[in-house]
């Protein structure tokens, strides 16, 4: 099949074309069109087809990663949302979990109050109440609902979130409210809490439902625009979208459940990294995806995506109870600013000079010394390094900024100051990775560290050395990693329900019904995507916790009879998971099964790259320049006569001893003095330390 991954970010839109038969690929990077991202998406796709020499209708699958939904929330540009809820609970979204993000602050603001997703005037309560057991304690007052809907309509809301207490146990009232909205206000985007996330925890469920309504209308419009443009250009393949859980979903599902697209942006690179890890025989990977303002850090032990803890699944300041791949974002990138603060302390980041004006050496009027300027000062970038992005670097501007702002005040040489900036920023990255790996019980020596993004390869070797990872790997095209990751993504549909049972005395029949019901929904979704039943995999999961604890861990559950043996197996899986994450198990404590989940997986073929041309150990043929650059060795910074190589001309088997720089259109790899890189059969740079090259 011919497939294309389309990753649309704020600045660039990346394309990755792949033909499974010929194992050939074509990549393309075009500027994004933020006013309507589907313009660059559709036009770039046509350009890509011309470049690859294929016709639009030959493409069998389009996989799309988009930040559209995330940006709506971050920029606060969503729909005007109304909310209909249970009487007595109008302010659940306003109160939230009642905590505040900062401990030492009297002047902080709370977005849920100062910039609510649903204003209080649009939050209307109606008489209705369902008990924890699902009984109707107070029947729905239909007339009140009708009045509420008319009020919201008159107020000009575009979307309505329907959020009732205990609707996840008994959705009758939410369904009845929706029916009234459909009758009174046809055309409104309606979303019900028991559909978006049928789990207990009213604040998180309501917040997720409100976010779904908030991003819903515009996401639907965007998807419609894209589909229309693609159709007009002769593309017949249906668009599938990357979700925050690391699986792809159909456009239809994305339209109904757009909240599942939130924060899906950084997932592509991690998925791409997992596949590279599999290729090189080191399935446990850490990905370091660095751009201008931030670094995304992903950790996948044994190639498995880890999901975030419920307490951490939020977009900006808004909480969303949806499965999200555990990716940490820190304010450390090429544009991070270095400065001396009021107390005389030397600081790097988290503030960034951004894309404009950018680092001083871009010559776009940026005056502040940044990490990129430090790198330029150390001589690792030749002026033409970013020529592909239409940029001629001006190292003298970097030197002036660092001299004046850092080296002078700290009484250091320019190179010592630049090296200091580089050390501090890499230390930030190392600590962020440690918190997400070592601190969670994983041994970095079993992991490969993979660089992605335009800037990841400038830091990965040093970060990897400090972390003591098994090796550092620079994939072939780190700059379009997310787009290639899309093509390694399976179709995934996740359905869930709260069941709340004690595993020592399960109601097996009820559980079986619940799992079967979810399985049916997952199967139906994959059938609509054209998967035959034999190609559909149904994974059963169980969210468990010890009695009295407040949060669950998700573990795998055997798909089959839900009897005492099954419960014992799930208990044991939970004890094990608890021990892995929290270092201990409580054998005598009752284990409660809170939620169940079924994930339907439709497996997609993986990219199988052709092997790179073989060469001998000498990289001499790829040498493009030799010039002075500064590196730290031990305790001091020294100047080295440093070779610069062209990535495209490297052959498998080539061995590069640091210090050295490898240049390619989408990134620059910095190989420090202690490191040695070997080009593997697939063209990846494998880097080890102290002669122990991978």
């Amino acid at each position: 099949m011919k497939r294309v991954g389309i990753d649309i970010g704020g600045t660039f839109t990346d394309f990755f074309f792949w033909d499974d038969e010929t194992r050939s690929m074509t990549t393309l990077k075009v500027p994004s069109t933020p006013e309507d991202p589907s313009i660059a998406g559709a036009e770039g796709l046509q350009q890509l087809c011309r470049q690859a020499g294929i016709k639009a209708e030959e493409i069998g699958l389009l996989l799309h990663g988009t930040t559209v939904a995330t940006n709506i929330v971050v920029q606060h540009k969503g729909a005007r949302v109304g909310l209909i809820t249970t009487r007595g609970f109008r302010d659940i979204l306003h109160i939230g979990r009642k905590n505040r993000p900062l401990n030492f602050s009297n002047y902080q603001s709370l977005s849920r109050q100062s910039r609510p997703i649903v204003k209080r005037r649009h939050r209307l309560a109606v008489a209705e109440r369902i008990s924890a057991a699902g009984d109707i304690l107070q029947p729905l007052e239909v007339e009140e609902v009708r009045t509420a809907v008319r009020t919201l309509k008159a107020q000009g809301v575009e979307a309505i979130a329907v959020c009732g207490l205990f609707a996840f146990v008994n959705p009758a009232h939410e369904l009845a409210i929706k029916a009234i909205i459909d009758a009174e206000f046809p055309g409104a985007y309606v979303t019900m809490s028991h559909e978006v996330v049928p789990l207990y925890r009213e604040y998180e469920r309501f917040s997720t439902t409100a976010l779904n309504a908030y991003v819903g209308p515009q996401t639907a419009t965007y998807l419609q625009n894209f589909a229309t443009r693609l159709e007009a250009a002769g593309f017949s393949a249906e668009l599938h979208l990357m979700s925050s859980s690391g699986g792809a979903v159909s456009s239809e599902r994305a339209r109904q459940n757009p909240v599942s697209l939130l924060l899906s942006g950084p997932v592509g690179a991690l998925v791409a990294g997992i596949e590279v890890g599999r290729e090189i025989g080191c399935p446990s990977v850490i990905t370091l995806d660095v751009g201008g303002t931030s670094a995304d850090i992903g950790v996948a032990p044994r190639g498995e995506l880890r999901m975030k803890h419920l307490l951490d699944t939020r977009v900006g300041d808004y909480d969303a109870m949806v499965p999200m791949v555990d990716i940490d974002t820190i304010g450390a990138g090429g544009g991070s600013v270095a400065y001396i603060d009021q107390g005389g302390m030397f600081r790097v980041g988290p503030h960034s000079a951004g894309a404009k004006p950018g680092p001083a050496c871009y010559g776009h009027g940026g005056e502040r010394a940044t990490v990129t300027d430090a790198i330029a000062c150390l001589g690792w970038f030749r002026p033409q390094a970013l020529r592909n992005s239409g940029l001629e670097l001006q190292p003298q501007l970097a030197e002036a900024a660092i001299e004046e702002q850092i080296a002078g005040p700290l009484q250091l040489s320019r190179q010592q100051a630049a090296d200091g900036i580089y050390r501090v920023i890499t230390t930030h990255m190392v600590e962020a990775i440690r918190v997400n790996s070592v601190a969670k019980g994983y041994d970095p020596r079993e992991f490969a560290l993979l660089a992605f993004g335009g800037a990841g390869a400038a830091f990965a070797v040093e970060v990897g050395r400090q972390l003591h990872v098994q090796r550092v790997v620079i994939p072939r095209h780190p700059g379009v990693g997310a787009a290639s990751g899309l093509l390694n993504t399976d179709m995934k549909y996740e359905f869930m329900a709260t069941v709340w049972q004690d595993l020592s005395r399960v109601d097996g029949a009820a559980l079986q019904r619940a799992y079967r019901n979810l399985s049916g929904q997952a199967r139906d979704s994959l059938r609509s995507d054209g998967f035959a039943d034999g190609d559909i995999q149904l994974l059963w999961k169980a969210d468990c916790r010890y009695r009295g604890q407040g949060y669950e861990l998700t573990v795998e559950a055997p798909a089959g009879a839900t009897d005492a043996d099954w419960a014992a197996a799930v208990s044991e899986a939970f004890h094990r998971a608890h021990e892995q994450l929290y270092l201990r198990r409580f054998e005598d404590k009752a284990v409660h099964l809170i939620n169940i989940r079924v994930i339907g997986v439709g497996q997609m073929p993986r990219l199988k790259f052709a092997t790179a041309g073989a060469g001998d150990s000498s990289p001499q043929a790829a040498l493009v320049a030799r010039q002075n650059a500064y590196f730290r060795r031990g305790d001091s910074v020294g100047v080295f006569d440093t070779p610069f190589y062209c990535r495209q001309r490297l052959k498998s088997g080539n061995r590069i001893h640091g210090p050295a720089i490898v240049e390619q259109a989408d990134t620059t790899t910095v190989i420090t003095p202690e490191a040695t890189a070997v080009v593997d059969e697939l063209g990846n740079l494998n880097i080890g330390f102290d002669g122990g090259a991978a």
């Binding site: 007595g88 306003h94 009642k98 401990n103 902080q108 209080r120 009213e202 230390t427 930030h428 270092l583």
Partner: protein, 617 residues
């Protein structure tokens, strides 16, 4: 103005306790130059150690109070008890660790051995209050004792007279087990007898054991990480860098104190409702703040004497960290700072407190002192009030400045044994209005910062049904910026329930408005509000029984307004009316804003009315 006689400055300087360790520093290492980059790297590493300790603790702990409420603190301290770093968990724990170290040093100084683990909770020797257990692990580099890894955590139950909260108790022994500097591990070997005693005398042995094991693991991890750091950079470099970071934090705070004019700043006297036994007998709080150069002295003289119940505040473990919190939050507000100022000994050094022995803020052994949060949370509010006239752009109007805690318990209906359930609820407060910003509604205030329990969880777990959880109906305290609105919560009991609580409804002394802002609104506890005879209850209940079908309504305090309501932006007043915080007549009455429901805001009429009101003053 305060009726308290002012303590002369010289007496105050001599009598006041620094919130920091002070001058008793032992250095058996050499201070060396540390380059700015290494300084950053070591600063980042120590911060990461505290973060990793806390992360391990709340992931490994058993009880919800540690796991989700994050009622813990963790950090590394040097041999003198100076804090090098502490996790950013909950304010009540931040800064209490040095007092625990001071407490154990009385008995154990010089006798530490590798593998020791020390447990301490004595509130008259540094503990914040008895339920806040402290675990301390000495750190060794080779054979040399170089510091401590320590953490504090709130135990679910420590064997007090009643489950949950009980204010009306005679002395400290009624508040649970007291453990004074006890080694629960001696050179790596567990003292099983002590361990068993600890579990045999509490209502929640499994949770306590789980939580203590987590705390021990947390400290051992911290000790290991810190030793690794020392091995990598050397003792001299690490400790010198740590001192430079302390000096930095101190410098940042001193710079800001120096910018305040020297002088005495006095808060209006505050009043606490009662001590939980003598209802109707209010307790006075006197607060004077003396700024002298780069130092701040907080004088609590004149405040009420110690009380007969558990409603006293341990001085070193609770009052000192709270005073520090108040100053630090006022002068180094995280939301306004470009850089993070680390939590270490430096931020304590410029802040000193005096409370006469035998007062409610410095009680004498063996007074009960478990229920201290209500009084403690008034201190930052009092200090804000003291600075209010002189620092209008940094202070808040009066806060809810209390904490409403309720513990519900009852017999487990479906259980064969005679076990019972307990549900702890820490209710929210509200922030006073700020300069340029309305107060925060229904949120934990000042020293408190925990999460609520989902209603759906409580109903799935306990025989209680929530009938209401919303913002209060009455309008917020008016002001150019309005006060934060308190919440209201209603529980219907489906089985007989016993309730213990601590709190303060601020009925007689509501949060103070500033610069013309209106005062906040008191809270109340009301039994069966829709019944024939609704009954008002005090905020502090000790083992009060309710029947099946009873309804308890808890209305939380609304905070005060800031500035003249006539200066509030009329568009904001309109927004408040549209959002249902105010009625149109209230907008007219309190803000002089004319709103005509069909046509909306009537600006000319508003201006005329406001002119007339201003003229009338």
């Amino acid at each position: 103005m305060s009726s308290a006689a002012r303590t002369p400055l010289q007496t105050l300087v001599e009598a006041a306790a620094s919130t920091g360790v002070g001058n008793r520093i032992e250095r058996d290492w050499t201070r060396v130059e540390v380059d700015p980059v290494t300084l950053q790297v070591i600063g980042g590493a120590t911060k990461a150690i505290a973060a990793e300790m806390a992360q391990l603790l709340f992931r490994m702990a058993y009880s919800s109070i540690m796991r989700e409420s994050r009622d813990i603190g963790a950090g590394i301290l040097d041999c003198s008890g100076r804090q090098l770093c502490e996790s950013d968990s909950t304010p009540m724990h931040c800064g209490s660790l040095p007092a625990y170290i001071k407490g154990i040093e009385r008995k154990l100084a010089g006798s530490y051995r590798p593998g020791d683990v020390i447990l301490h909770n004595h509130p008259y020797h540094g503990a914040s209050h008895a339920p806040d257990f402290g675990i301390i692990v000495p750190i060794f580099l080779r054979d040399k004792h170089v510091g401590f890894a320590a953490c504090t955590g709130h135990m679910v139950d420590i064997g007090a007279a009643n489950p949950g909260f009980s204010v009306d108790v005679p002395d400290i022994w009624a508040e649970g087990l007291l453990i004074d500097s006890a080694r629960i591990y001696r050179a790596g070997e567990r003292n099983q007898a002590l361990w068993d005693v600890l579990q045999d005398n509490v209502r929640t042995p499994e949770a306590n054991a789980g939580d203590m094991e987590a705390m021990i693991a947390c400290c051992r991890l911290g000790a290991r990480r810190f030793a690794e750091l020392l091995q990598k950079y050397g003792l001299d470099t690490v400790m010198s860098a740590a001192e430079m970071w302390m000096d930095y934090a101190e410098r940042m705070l001193r710079q800001r104190i120096a910018a305040i004019a020297d002088g005495v700043y006095t808060a209006p006297d505050g009043w606490l409702e009662d001590d939980g036994k003598h209802f109707g007998k209010a307790l006075k709080i006197c607060t004077q703040v003396v700024v002298a150069g780069e130092d701040i002295y907080i004088d609590l003289s004149g405040s009420a004497g110690e009380v007969e119940t558990g409603f006293n505040c341990p001085f070193t473990g609770s009052v000192l960290p709270t005073a520090n919190f108040a100053i630090r939050t006022l002068l180094l507000d995280e939301a306004l700072l470009a850089e993070e100022v680390p939590q270490n000994d430096g931020v304590f050094r410029p802040v000193h407190v005096f409370a006469p022995e035998g007062s409610i803020f410095n009680p004498r052994y063996p007074r009960g002192c478990e229920a201290r949060f209500v009084q403690i949370n008034r201190l930052p509010d009092q200090i804000l009030q003291a600075f209010s006239p002189s620092m209008p752009e940094s202070v808040t109007a009066g806060n809810s400045a209390t904490v409403s805690c309720l513990a519900y318990s009852g017999a487990n209906a479906d259980s064969a044994d005679d076990s019972y359930w307990v549900d702890i609820e820490i209710n929210e407060g509200a922030y006073g209005a700020r300069c340029g910003m309305d107060g925060l509604d229904a949120v934990d205030n000042l020293m408190a910062n925990t999460r609520n329990n989902p209603i759906e969880e409580t109903e799935l777990n306990t025989p209680m049904r929530c009938e209401r959880y919303e913002l209060r109906d009455d309008p917020p305290a008016a002001g150019r910026w309005r006060g934060g609105i308190g919440a209201v919560r209603r529980w219907r009991f489906l089985q007989p329930v016993s309730v213990g609580s601590t709190g303060d409804n601020r009925q007689q002394d509501p949060p103070r408005g500033v610069f013309g802002g209106h005062p906040g609104k008191p809270g109340r506890l009301l039994l069966n509000p829709d019944g024939e005879r609704p009954q008002s209850l005090p905020a502090k209940l000790t083992d009060v029984r309710f029947e099946r079908g009873d309804v308890l309504e808890i209305t939380l305090v609304s905070a005060a307004g800031y500035g003249d309501p006539l200066q509030r932006d009329p568009q904001q007043v309109l927004a408040d009316v549209l959002d249902g915080y105010l009625s149109a007549p209230q907008a007219r009455r309190d803000y002089g804003v004319v709103i005509d429901p069909p046509s909306g805001l009537d600006l000319p009429a508003t201006e005329a009315l406001r002119r007339q009101r201003a003229g009338g003053n």
